[in-house]
Amino acid sequence: MLSNPGIEFRDAQRETHQFGIRLAIMSGFVVVMFLLLLARFAWLQIIQHSHYHTLAEANRISVVPVTPGRGVIFDRNGVQLAYNYTAHTLEITPGKAGDVSATIDQLAEIVEITPRDRRRFKQLQEESKSFESLPLRSRLADEEIARFAANRYRFPGVEIKARLFRQYPQGELFSHVIGYIGRINQKELDKLDTDGELANYRGTDHIGKTGLELSYESALHGTTGVEQVEIDSAGRAVRVLSRTPPASGANLALKLDAGLQALVDKAFGDRRGALVALDPQTGGVLAFVSKPGFDPNLFVDGIDPQSWGELRNSPDRPMLNRALTGTYPPGSTFKPFMALAALTTGKRTPQQAISDPGYFQFGNHRFRDDAEFGHGAVDMYKSIVVSCDTYYYVLANEMGIDAIAKFMTRLGFGSRTGIDLTGEAAGILPSQEWKMQRFKQKWFAGETVSIGIGQGYNSYTPLQLASAIAAIANDGTMLRPHVVDYMEDVRTKARTPVAPRPLALGLNPEHIDVIKKALVGVNKEGTSASVFVGTEYVSAGKTGTSQVVAIKQGEKYIESRVQERHRDHALFVAYAPADKPTIALAVIVENAGFGAKAAAPIARQVFDYYLLGKTPPGDKKEAGK
């Protein structure tokens, strides 16, 4: 090679030249690749910019519902019956938490978790979807919050949230009127969907289940607001961009009197039964008691299976709303209405009297009177005051079932009163047609006889009885019962009253007068006279006893020999003051026997309290005031 340096030199030159070409090619390559990148940038940043802009905005902006506060419920004196409070809850999203029961075990080392909490949570979990955040514990103490915060990293899918809770401070006392709210279930979701309300419930997880909470749901709930929030990639809110405030649900002011309600509750004690007291002039519900009640607070964040089982299996049936859905034969409280029917249809005049031998013979059947040897000569006044059965056996037999049914329909028997509570029962007003539909059987004339004294097929709610007696008290004008007095806008304080809805029954005032005089007689000199001795007002009433088990022919009812649950129900309908009634009521005490003994004293206490502000002796100042 050394022999020919020129070749080497040319080679070197050629190589340099070749390198130059290669370098130039690479320069071209670099430029082309950068242009390719530039084209990509132009595509993304110029041509597709608005698309990506939208995506970036969608990333950062989250539309969050702002839940309105639920309306508060007050009694007529401003006593709170249902309100909201904010509490910190410990919540688990099962879908994010992995092994939920292990997570709960670990959480139990940090915050107190009762077996009840666990059962409740398990129940909730079964009813919910895995991505829903479900409360495990509520009302965390500050200390517990701090302890959890320090251990937070250990618990994915577990969060502390501030939530509004519903509280029913009076507990059992109003359980059957106020009802309760609970977590929205699938059925309710479907209903909200068909009602077009789903959007308004975004962010709401509770809904009224029973009582006023159910019937006034849309008013109490309010309108959900919207917040545009800037969020980071973890979904944490960084700042609020815009806000449409929610409209809080309306407050409800009731006609109910918490003091009266408490008094009635106490008067019942452990006995089962119901009382409905109405303002005859407005239809406002003054007291609405069904005993026993239950604690509505148990239902707010999901009742645990054990407590639910106890409520459901109790022989006292605390979940049954006796005042609204319990139906009972009215017994002798039906007599004044029968008398009014007789006057209106012209079957009787007030003076027309019968001679009562102590029974009414119908074919082979002897319908007995309470008084073994009869009441002697009985006119309409006496028939009510002494509660003569024979008078009404004869009357009913003469009128016939369809005439009775036709008249009683006017007083609202056998149809719903239209009270502002959901789930009211209609009761049974028997007629030939009714029996044919119900039993596919003909009506037997003998069956009409016991209808006259409020026994047999007929069966009404305490609410219907109260409404009917209130109509008498109000001289034949019936007012639709309503629990709510007015709804109040939380912001403007504007009130929307629930207007009274009067319905004239078309009765002759003179006829009503006859009945009213007799009802005053009952409390003055009749079956319940001993209960109303010495009142500072004049009251009117009618006792009743409703058979639970039919008594065999020829047998006598002896209370002490009958099993407690088969004893008769005690009933009483009443109003006061007699000349210008401001309160009318119906009360039933289950299995308590004779109406005057068990039911009428409760009515006396109600009147004393409502009209005079008196509480039973030895009682502390009434609850809620």
Binding site: F19, L38, Y52
Partner: protein
């Protein structure tokens, strides 16, 4: 007197520094710090940390600018061999971090031998071709390619696909610049296409997923495709002029993963838009063209090849990173050169620039 010494010292300091290249490097560094400040949510610790990294890198640059190319040439083979041994060490008993075995304990500290290979591989190849200058046959290229594939294979196995690709590219550039015949290049291209299925079967699951994600990132929007989707949104939503410094919503609301390191370009792009991207491309292009000029003016085959390879490796870094962030390349762990947070790549890059400067400033001095 003092002035004279100062002038002399100044001359000593700057004697082997290439002004144009240094200017481009400093401009990129300044850009990097600006973006980093925003990407770290005004996090001074990150920014000052990166400044320290830059000072170290600049020192390394100065040192290597002062090492004459013939010394480097002598070091080429030993460094490569040491690098290979370290890579074997990693494969044998390296530390596993994030599912990859990349680090090796050496005394008190840990090193990532694949970083050394980024310089050592092109250095060795340039030395090899220089040694056989004038008598190059096909078998020389084959042998060079084999030498290159050993470290590439080891690194790909760690697994570190990004670094493996970069090293393969830098070696490939040397082969190309050394005059690998077009016939062979064409043959290689055909073979590569044909062997793609084989390569596919040899890839790790996560590597396959990254490639699949590139084809359709929306298939797994919250999983593997998340990086690409969010960075593409960031780039696209930047628009022509960007959302403004410190105002990128994707950036500041934490939608961009690894936004101070591999995905910092998404931050830059979101906040400075298309115009900013154009400026950055021009800056990169300035630096690359200066590198090419140095390569073209280099006096020996070794320095020509080395300068060309270093410059093209830098380009590859930039292209792969920007391509990955804007969604046209799969997600491989390649930082944006001079901009991404991290000392290692910064030092390696500046070391390369130091070598470039050395090549340029020593071109008339030495003739081996």
């Amino acid at each position: 007197m003092i002035a004279w010494y100062l002038r002399r010292a100044g001359r000593m300091l700057t004697a082997h520094i290439d002004g144009a290249l240094l200017a481009a490097v400093l401009l990129l560094m300044a850009t990097g710090l600006t973006v980093l400040y925003s990407a770290s949510n005004a996090g001074w610790p990150r920014v000052t940390g990166q400044m320290t990294n830059m000072l170290v890198a600049l020192a390394v640059l100065w040192v290597f600018a002062n090492i004459p190319p013939h010394v480097l040439m002598r070091l080429a083979l030993p460094v490569f061999i040491v690098g290979l041994l370290l890579l074997l060490g990693v494969a044998w008993k390296g530390d596993v971090i994030n599912g990859a075995r990349r680090w090796l304990h050496v005394g008190v500290t840990r090193i990532q031998p694949s970083e050394i290979m980024k310089i050592a591989a092109p250095l060795m190849l340039a030395w090899y071709f220089h040694r056989y200058e004038g008598t190059l046959r096909l078998r020389n290229y084959v042998l060079a390619a084999l030498l290159l594939l050993i470290p590439v294979g080891l690194i790909a196995r760690q697994p570190d696909l990004g670094t493996a690709i970069l090293i393969l590219a830098s070696g490939g550039f040397v082969l190309f610049l050394a005059g690998l015949s077009w016939k062979v290049i064409a043959a290689l291209g055909v073979t590569a296409l044909a062997s793609a299925p084989v390569a596919w079967s040899m890839m790790h699951d996560y590597q396959r997923q990254r490639i699949l994600m590139l084809i359709d990132p929306s298939e797994d929007p919250l999983g593997k495709g998340y990086h690409t989707i969010q960075s593409t949104i960031a780039v696209g939503s930047g628009g022509i002029t960007g959302k403004g410094w410190m105002s990128g919503t994707q950036t500041h609301l934490d939608f961009i993963p690894e936004r101070t390191t591999d995905f910092i370009f998404a931050v830059y792009s979101e906040e400075f838009g298309f115009v900013g991207n154009l400026v950055l491309l021009i800056l990169f292009l300035l630096l690359i063209s200066r590198g090419f000029v140095i390569a073209a003016q280099a006096s020996t085959l070794f320095t020509r090849l080395l300068a060309g390879a270093i410059t093209l490796t830098f380009f590859t870094y930039a292209f792969v990173n920007m391509g990955m962030v804007s969604g046209i390349l799969p997600v491989v762990g390649v930082p944006l050169p001079m901009i991404s947070y991290g000392g290692t790549s910064l030092v390696t890059l500046c070391l390369g620039f130091g070598i470039l400067m050395s090549i340029h400033t020593h071109r008339h001095l030495v003739r081996t």
